[in-house]
Symmetry: C3
Subunit: 244 residues, 3 copies
């Protein structure tokens, strides 16, 4: 018995806006307490973690653990038809994830379950020296402005600033954001701009996000619901100079 | 002498938004009482009827009956330049439909008349068991949401619901709309989604529309002006299983 | 020492919205009093003049005359990232025009200087009989509406009207705008619609513009800031019948 209902479905839509750009097939697992998703992008450069505790939902029922594997593009196509006043419901039968939207009419979409060899991965635990909190839409804008000169950017953190830098033949650019954090050591890592753009498609998931940055280390971007019961986290591998 | 003037020209624009997608060349006829159009799509699957009585217009003059044949895409290109505060005028000379828009400036467009073998067709009179009234924009949204899985949808009516259904390899979908009508018998017919989308480009012609549905029979979609003096009607042939 | 700062940067953005469509490489010159630009389009049919006096800027410093040659597309890419609340700064180093935007963060873009053989051209002085003032956005709309039938339009001026006319196989169109000016003689000249469209991408530079028109003569379009200290002027060569 898996049966969940949510009015504030922007959370789901915003998360999959990004997820569906990064991975093709996903497995969600549900237990009595929460809906989870862990997945690795096909090229193994990105890891995504989604945790939505039952309190995120208006109603949440899951008697026995469920494993729901679907095509993420198919799910996104369906979620795109959501109207803001709809109530969104998820349940499953033997062959389908059943997505129901209740508005002026009841709209029911059956998305075929797929069979996926699935070992739930866990994100690596990495100790990163810099922890910066920044407005999600602000960071999204900064990244989107940075694809003028190159397909790669550098994130640098020093005592005072988060610095975003790109370098190209026609010019270079640098954004300096006063972070107001207590930073142990200055670091820098390079990342693909398109991959960062995909992550920040989820910027509406929460108003602020946390960036964790190290020296030539993966980047963690974490969006947490203000209520604390929902988390969407992305890990992005650094793009090293030698790759170019 | 053919001379008409209209301030509320959205009616004209909305009708041709749809018509220009369905038929290439149209013939309008005008008499002392009304402006008419009857036309059949090139593939003979759609019939369109437009009737605008003289009271729809701010001023309407037509001493002798006129037959105006033009390219519908050309007319739509011109209508697209309408500003909401313009006054729209139609008249004819020997070679042109003259479309005048009076705003900050006077803008006059001459659209070449074409010669068209034209026998005014009449829509077939078909008795259909189900008659359903529904918001035009609502129905438009339902149809537009339905092209995820297939290029065809099924319209079903039972005692309580209008059901819109599509079926595809990746999933299926169903919209259930409580119709509140008195229905004699349950029916269902299948239609091409793109053709329905074209019809509902005219959704702003009137807030509500009427659907008439039978068992494997053509669909009638009728938009009527609230004032009762204007009607835009579409007839769409069913798409039978064997066509696939 | 070249250092300028402007809050009302829409003026700059609007001007280059148009300029970057017309010329690939530009040279701006700055002296102690103003920022100038004179340039000729590659096909020599258009001349653009931009004059921004130091009072246009919130702060303006230029001790020794500067010549700044850059790729106009690169500049426009950078200006597109401007947010309305940003403060915009220009300065130069040996290799770059440095564009800084101060908002939530400080964003700095270095646009490579290019070496350009540059002899500052001056617009030809031509005495044109007709001088017409018209709303910039209005004129923009009129031109944009005119590409239905042809890629060329005719500007005609008589005692009462500015007339914009196009002629094509499928139809023709005419816009009559009551100009309220005192006109010495009736004239007409033809121009390419796409070139006029490019000019009017700058329509937001000032609410009104002045058109100067002659008989088969170039067109001057002049946008002047209400404060009188900024001017953007376009000269467009006529398109003669024989060119077709």
């Amino acid at each position: 018995m898996f049966n969940i209902e949510i009015t504030n479905h922007q959370v789901i839509k915003n998360a999959f806006e990004s997820i569906s750009h990064i991975v093709d097939e996903i497995t969600m697992t549900a237990d009595s307490e929460a809906l989870h998703m862990r997945c690795l992008s096909r090229d193994h450069t990105q890891f995504i973690l989604l945790d939505l505790e039952k309190t995120v939902f208006d109603s949440y029922q899951c008697d026995t653990p469920e494993k729901i594997s679907i095509d993420s593009t198919e799910l996104m196509k369906v979620l795109k038809t959501l109207k803001s006043t709809d109530i969104l419901l998820f349940n499953v039968d033997d062959n389908n994830l059943i997505v129901t939207m209740k508005g002026d009419a009841e709209r029911k979409f059956n998305i075929r379950l797929i069979s996926l060899e699935y070992e739930e991965a866990q994100p690596p635990i990495i100790d990163l020296p810099c922890n910066i909190s920044i407005g999600s839409d602000l960071m999204k804008d900064y990244i989107n402005d940075m694809d003028i000169y190159s397909d790669k950017l550098e994130l640098l953190v020093d005592e005072d600033y988060l610095i975003i830098r790109t370098d190209g033949q026609m010019g270079d650019a640098e954004i300096k954001y006063l972070h107001g954090e207590n930073i142990r050591e200055a670091v820098s890592s390079g990342f693909g701009i398109d991959k960062l753009k995909d992550i920040f498609r989820a910027s509406k998931f929460s108003q602020d996000c946390t960036l964790r940055i190290g020296e030539d280390m993966p980047l963690f971007v974490t969006f947490t619901l203000p209520t604390g019961d929902g988390k969407l986290e992305f890990l992005l591998a650094p793009r090293l100079e030698t790759e170019e």
